[in-house]
């Protein structure tokens, strides 16, 4: 199997996920929907990290075993979990106080 997938295909998919997530985060009225958009953006970034890990030459320094891309992706997954937990807790807390999850209702700080 000689034909292999060019790197930019992965990058394009990652960009598509990132862009779709961006659109979701910017356009959703529901706060949970905004959070979902952010998760999509993180996934797009993660695909980039892993694709670069797979394709790009790593300078072989002492003690480096060239797993940086995957380590990066794992860190992002862990952070995404933390972010989802805190974000959703915030949304539930706001919902208790204001009976709404629509972001345009969270505007009491506006001058």
């Amino acid at each position: 199997m000689e034909a292999s997938i060019p790197l930019w295909w992965y990058l394009l998919v990652a960009a598509a996920l990132f862009g779709t997530g961006l659109f979701g985060a910017l356009s959703r009225r529901n706060a949970v929907g905004v959070l979902m958009g952010i998760e999509l953006m993180l996934n797009g970034a993660n695909i980039n990290a892993v694709a670069f890990w797979r394709y790009i030459a790593v300078p072989s320094g002492a003690g480096l075993n060239g797993m940086d891309g995957q380590v990066f992706a794992i860190m992002v997954i862990a952070l995404a979990a933390a972010e989802a937990a805190v974000g959703l807790a915030l949304i539930i807390s706001i919902y208790r106080n204001r009976q709404s999850v629509l972001v345009e209702d969270f505007s009491t700080m506006r001058g």
Partner: protein, 199 residues
């Protein structure tokens, strides 16, 4: 060719799921599309040869984060209702995000990436095999020694050359500090989420 087909399948699932997330009118349904997109991303990791990451993606994103999101939808939303899902700036957001995608796509295509030469021509599978000698010895043993009962250490070699081991070593050596910090972040987030959601 078939590898590209596999890639097309998982990429289609990932991107199609993502489009479903932003297109669905019901928040619950869009969360289900999100799950599909996560599974597609796991497939992309698998094709890239990041086994552990693919399984982690399914375990964390599908098994945990999506569950949290669905729970939040159920606890906060008018459970069964549809509603107008996009705000007034949706059109502007569409222009911005599609130009971001276009810019990133052109950049990704035009840039001359320093591709690692060893993997450029070969398939993922052959590159995954760390030690060709051990691998061929093991497969020879697997062929001849399948019926003889007491040979075992050789076919164990089949499983030793995965990058799970290397990933574990990387996390425990070069990236130890970030590993510890992320643990702390998770602990703080856990406590914080409980405190915020309780009162």
């Amino acid at each position: 060719m078939m590898e590209m087909l596999a890639f097309g399948l998982v990429a289609g699932v990932a991107v199609g799921g993502a489009i479903g997330v932003v297109a669905a009118r019901n928040v619950f349904v869009s969360a289900l599309w999100l799950v599909l997109s996560f599974i597609g991303v796991a497939g992309i990791y698998a094709i890239l040869g990041a086994d552990f990451l693919a399984a982690t993606q399914v375990l964390i994103y599908v098994g945990a984060i999506s569950v949290l999101i669905l729970f939040a939808v159920m606890l906060t939303h008018h459970v069964m209702g549809d509603e107008r899902s996009n705000n007034r700036q949706a059109f502007l957001a569409f222009i911005v995000s599609s130009s971001v995608v276009a810019a990133l796509g052109v950049l990704a295509y035009r840039t001359d990436w320093p591709i690692r030469p060893a993997d450029a021509g070969g398939s993922v599978v052959t590159a995954m095999r760390g030690d060709p000698a051990g691998s061929s010895a093991a497969s020879a043993a697997a062929q001849t020694g399948a019926s003889t009962a007491l040979t075992s250490t050789v076919d164990l070699a089949l499983n030793q050359d995965s990058n799970v081991v290397r990933l574990g070593q990387a996390l425990m050596t070069e990236h130890l500090l970030s590993f510890e910090i992320i643990s702390l972040v998770l602990l703080v987030a856990l406590i914080g989420a409980i405190v915020i959601a309780r009162d």
